[in-house]
């Protein structure tokens, strides 16, 4: 199975963990292509999304010389630590994963532009795994033999679009992930698998923690889906209810507070006091 990883940045922990986990499962990617980290559009978006404090904390974690090699100390998503550790060290960028497992990593300005598509075509991939970046246009979607995989942090078709875990909480949809092929719509492609987050994994202390847990869950399940696809054990099913508009958008912080309150309430109901300690 020839796989290409699409990443939002070479420092993306999700992309690093996905590539490393696939490689450890025996599916070393044929290549990876990441968006430029110092792109003004990305920087502005991240500043707006995270705020200045978290933005600079992330930048220093990734860019300043490392004090030690332990992934725990410089990984933002603690649930990805196990995927990022190798020997006594830990991957900090996709370049390091590429060097370790021997696959090329290219950096581009736009994942839809011709040089990016040429890089992908050269690798004649069976599968592209999308871990973030631009909205993909048709020329990219037609490059791989099987399709472009996306890991959506919610159930499809119930919760399409952004802030899926938070909207799942507010609309009483089970927490979980969906691995699906991408098409021209938003989260509307055929589904390869829906996986509910196990109850034991829900003891998170915040929405960010829950989101991180779901990302790690997605990384784990991606390798399983790739293996199943390789052995032709699964096939994609078109989504139902596409006529209904189930698209959700980035959640405002007022509603995030409401979602957090729902989450705390659900957790109290699901996990007995004694078990929570």
């Amino acid at each position: 199975m020839r796989i290409v990883i699409l990443a939002p940045s070479v420092y993306s922990e999700t992309a690093c963990a996905t590539a490393a986990n696939l490689a450890q499962s025996g599916y070393v990617p044929s290549g990876a292509i990441a968006l430029r980290s110092l792109d003004s559009r990305t920087l502005r978006r991240k500043l707006g999304q995270w705020g200045a404090r978290r933005f600079f904390s992330y930048a220093t974690t990734k860019l300043l010389p490392r004090k030690n090699e332990d992934a725990q100390t410089h990984t933002v998503n603690r649930y990805l630590t196990s995927f990022l550790n190798y020997g006594s060290k830990a991957f900090r960028s996709l370049r390091e994963v590429g060097m370790y497992y021997g696959f090329p990593v290219a950096v581009c300005r736009d994942q839809n532009e011709s040089p990016s598509i040429a890089f992908m075509r050269e690798r004649s991939p069976d599968l592209i795994i999308f871990t973030g970046g631009d909205i993909l246009r048709q020329p990219v979607l037609t490059v791989p033999r099987l399709g472009v995989l996306n890991i959506h942090l919610g159930f499809l078709p119930e919760v399409r679009g952004m802030s899926a875990p938070e909207w799942s909480l507010l609309t009483n949809v089970p927490l979980g992930i969906t691995i699906h092929y991408m098409n021209a719509g938003i989260d509307s492609g055929p589904v390869l698998g829906k996986f509910e987050l196990p109850g034991a994994a829900r003891d998170c202390d915040s929405l960010t923690d829950l989101r991180n847990r779901l990302i790690a869950f997605g990384v784990e399940k991606t390798a399983e889906v790739v293996a199943a696809l390789d052995r032709s054990l699964i096939s994609a099913n078109p989504q139902s209810r596409l006529d209904q508009d189930n698209q959700f958008f980035v959640m405002h912080e007022v509603l995030q507070r409401r979602a957090a309150a729902c989450f705390v309430q659900n957790r109290k109901l699901a996990i007995p006091e004694a078990a929570r300690g």
Binding site: R44, Q49, M162, S163, R211, V250, E253, V254, L255, R257
Partner: protein, 450 residues
């Protein structure tokens, strides 16, 4: 009471130059070639700076601020998802603007121009701002708002004709009875009547309602004398809303022709102009684009009338159109100030009043349907409007909602408009009500979702 002629009334909110009522021949001349009138208006307004050169500094400040914002600020998917300015403080500021805009006669000025200062009182806005004042008085426990609403009501009563109609345009500019303005003022009278239980106000509201029914065409629309440009407009659904409100209060006083039935007749006519794409035809303003303000008027009128008359077909139609606009706003964090058919647009400015109205429509749709996506979009819209609100600058500027953003653009250029403040205050009041009903914990900061 005054005697008015019934003639076409140009809503101040429609006019590029906002001068209100015009003689029919003048309107027709402007429609064919608006340039000379616009130039004359621009020269007249600019002369305002010669009379009051101290206005030059705020003008330059606002132009520079909007210019810089245009250059550097490009909204993205995560824009407006966090609260940077408290809604309560902003609401107080907006109400402060409205108090300052109340003239000695009790009417609310139409606008504050950065060139010419406050305009004369504007009966239409003075009417439909009354519910906002009472709502704020209850929320903030502020007697000043009640006093302002009572003064506004008394002034309006002095303007009504023996037939029950009210004039269009700014006070003193012309004295022609206007269906739309009578409907908008009726909103305020009904609310004032509910709050004060004053018989005079009830009589005035009933006289206005009866006049509106007399002026209604058999198909449910309002056209001909009393209608702007003599034509029927779908945004007159706001008049239907006022009649539906009146029917709750006084249908027993008009057994022959119920106000509710008249409202529904108009809504039936308006619903025939809703396209499968969600677009609404029949706004019908010759010489003006379909400003978002008027599109939102149609939606507000049909929605509120639908809620009052329990018409699910009306609510569903509004939901469809409002969803199209919601998707546009969520995708680009921007709603164009005007649209052509099927919500296509070539305009790069935004109409802040229309934005505030859409926030109200979305919030009401949340209250009706329980779909939190509508409230989510409204919260972001309110954040955007809060960011564009001047926090200082003195009377007429601080807390004012400009016509367009950037302020020099087509809809009410260089003006802070009273109806913009009214709708923004409504949007913030709705936000408070819904937030309280959802029992959302306060002041607990959360990172934005990625």
């Amino acid at each position: 009471m005054k005697n008015l002629r019934i003639e076409q009334a140009a809503p101040v909110s429609a006019g590029v130059n906002g001068s209100g009522h015009r003689q029919r021949n003048l309107v027709n001349r402007q429609l064919h070639d608006p340039t000379p009138a616009l130039l004359a208006r621009a020269l007249k307004e600019s002369a305002g700076l010669l009379r009051a050169p101290q206005r030059l500094l705020p003008l330059a400040q606002r132009l520079t601020s909007d210019f810089l914002r245009e250059i550097f600020e490009r909204p993205h998917l995560y824009s407006y998802t966090t609260t940077k300015r408290s809604s309560t403080e902003i609401l107080d500021l907006v109400l402060g603007w409205i108090y300052n805009a109340q003239r000695l006669d009790g009417g609310i000025a139409g606008y504050y121009s950065l060139l010419t200062g406050y305009s004369d009182s504007y009966p239409e806005v003075t009417g439909y701002i009354i519910p906002t004042l009472y709502d704020y008085a209850k929320t903030a426990d502020d007697d000043r708002a009640v006093h302002a609403a009572e003064r506004a009501t008394q002034w309006l009563l002095s303007l009504q004709t023996p037939e029950g109609a009210f004039p269009g345009g700014l006070h003193g500019s012309h004295m022609h009875a206007s269906v739309f303005n009578t409907g908008q003022i009726l909103q305020g009278l009904v609310r004032a009547c509910r709050e004060t239980k004053t018989p005079d106000v009830l009589d005035s509201a009933i006289a206005a309602g009866d006049w509106l029914i007399r002026m209604q065409q058999s198909d449910g629309s309002w056209s001909g004398p009393g209608a702007y440009q003599d034509a029927a407009h779908t945004y007159y659904s706001m008049v239907a809303w006022a009649l539906a409100e009146l029917s709750e209060l006084a249908d027993h006083r008009n057994p022959c022709e119920s106000y509710g039935a008249a409202a529904e007749r108009n809504i039936d006519w308006v619903l025939r102009h809703f396209h499968p794409s969600g677009w609404i035809g029949g706004i019908n303003l010759r010489g003006h684009p379909n400003y978002l303000h008027f599109i939102a008027y149609v939606l507000q009128g049909v929605l509120e009338c639908g809620i009052l008359r329990r018409r699910s077909d009306a609510i569903d139609a509004v939901k469809k159109s409002a969803w199209v606009l919601l998707r546009k706003f969520e995708a680009s964090k921007f709603l164009a100030g005007a649209f052509e058919g099927d919500f296509k647009t070539k305009h790069h400015f935004t109409c802040l009043t229309g934005n505030a109205q859409m926030s109200c429509v979305w919030q009401r749709l949340y209250e009706v349907s329980g779909d939190l996506r509508f409230f989510n979009a409204a919260l972001k819209m309110n954040e955007m409007l809060k960011e564009l609100l001047p926090m200082g600058g003195g009377k007429g500027i601080a807390g004012g909602v400009s016509g367009s953003h950037p302020i020099w653009c087509r809809y009410q250029p260089l003006r802070y408009i009273s109806w913009g403040c009214k709708f923004f205050a409504d949007a913030l009041l709705l936000e408070q009500r819904i937030t309280q009903s959802l029992q959302i914990p306060r002041n607990k900061t959360l990172p934005c979702a990625s």
